[in-house]
Structure formats: C-alpha cells, structure tokens
C-alpha cells in the first residue's frame, strides 16, 4: 500500500478557528515542500471548506465540530474536511457553483456563492460527499521536481 502520514484535527465549528487551520495547513504544506503560491491556494481552499462547515453548524444551531484530515503522501496532500450532522442538498450547492457570468444580474449574485468554486479552482481534485454531514475531499499535487534534487535547499518558516 502507498505510504502516507495522517494528521487529524478536530475543532469547534466556529469561524474564529478558521485562522488556526490556515496556519496548520501552512506548516504541513511548507514541510512537504509546496511553493509559496500553492500554500496560499491550500490556505484559501481549506478555509472555504471550514467556513462551509461552520455555516452548516450555525444553521443547524448546534455546537458542532469539524474534523479535518491531512493525508501526507510523497507526491500530494489530501485534505478531508467533514462536518457532522446537518443535512445538505448537494445538487443545490452544485447549481450555485461557478464564476460570475456577464448574463447574471448583480442583484442575483449570492454573497456566499464562491466558496466551492474557489476550492475547485485552486485544488487539483475535489470530491464532495453528502450524507450524515458533508465531506469535502480535496487533493493538491506537489510539483514534480524537474530541476533535480538540491540538498542545500533553503527555506524558512514564518
């Protein structure tokens, strides 16, 4: 079986913890060797998924929690964001997903309509599963190293 490391986080489904998740994913992705640009993409995508999860929790009026799993592979990072409980109409969400179209009137633009679209645009692969809660499973590939391995690679964290 393909080897990977697994990291799991459970947090209250509250918006104040979205920033915590961003720092965590930033640490994991930096350690894996992702570029600055890719790390920024990951931060946005995971924040969007966590924001969706906290919104569901809020709508359901529950003090729920969000589970985030990171699968660290040699060539990619898989991130799973799951909220527990609360139902979710997947086809409704998919209908709302897309960039702004010139034909749409500004009045009809949805304030919260771009989250899933951004996840899809910024990650290499995205799957959404709905059942008891919602699971967003997204993958970002590490760039294949075509310049050859450089032992003395310099990198600094924030």
């Amino acid at each position: 079986m393909e080897h990977f490391d697994f990291i799991e986080m459970k947090l209250p489904a509250k918006p104040e913890y979205v920033g915590v998740i961003r720092l965590s994913v930033s640490g994991i992705a930096n350690r894996m060797g992702f570029t600055y640009e890719d790390i920024e993409d990951l931060k946005v995508a995971i924040s969007e998924a966590m924001t969706n999860a906290t919104t569901h929790a809020y709508e359901e009026n529950e003090g729920g929690e969000v589970t985030i799993g990171f699968g660290v592979y040699a060539d990619r990072l898989e991130v799973m964001v799951a909220d527990h409980g609360g139902s979710f109409n997947l086809s409704d969400v998919k209908k709302q997903t897309g960039p702004y179209q010139q034909s749409e009137s500004i009045e009809n633009l949805r304030e919260g309509g771009f989250g899933l679209f951004l996840i899809d645009a910024l990650m290499d692969k995205v799957e959404i599963k709905s059942g008891y809660g919602v699971i967003v499973l997204m993958t970002k590939n590490l760039p294949t190293n075509e310049v050859g391995l450089d032992d003395d690679q310099i990198s600094t964290t924030q």
Binding site: E16, V18, R22, E40, E48, M50, L118
Partner: protein, 111 residues
Amino acid sequence: MNINLSIDVIEKDNQTELIVTGEIDAFTAPLLKEKLLPATAKESEKIIVNLQDVAYMDSTGLGVFISALKSTKEHGSTLTLVNLQERVHRLFKITSLDSIIAIDTTVRGGE
C-alpha cells in the same frame, strides 16, 4: 479573543476611504461589512477600500464586496478597491468579479 483585522476609516467631503489591515475570513468579514456598508448607503459617496495590508482573503471577503456593490447600485454611491496584493487580486480574476467590481490596478501593493 483577538481579531486579526483592523480598519481605519478616513472621511472627507463625499469620500470615504477604508484602510484595511490583516486577514479577511469568515471570522473577520462581519467587521469589514459593518464598517463598509454604512458608507455605501450615502448618496453619491465615493468609497475607496485600500487593501494594501491585506495578505489573506477568501470568498467571505468577496461576499462583503458583492453586498457593498449592490448597496452602491441602490444608493447611487461608488466603490473602488485599490492596492490589492497579487494573491487577493487573483481571487477577483478567477471568479470574474473583476468585471463588475472596480479595481484600480495602477498602484498595486505587495509587489
């Protein structure tokens, strides 16, 4: 609890400038909305949002600017975003929202 966003509001004749510092996400976006929306409700007000010191933004920020844009259309005010860092500007381009929200790219922060 600390909030990683601060907003300075500078009001002149018919012009409101918001200087935004920090991160715009689900936690902080309500604060931005609270400071921005009242300005857009003033007839013929010119609103400038300076995003030079915003290093992070996601769709919750886009949502606030969509609300603000709607409000400007209702009340006859205008909204312009200035000094966007490349990463932040990119989100407006990906979503095509740069076709309806005025973004002044003559000066851009973070580059």
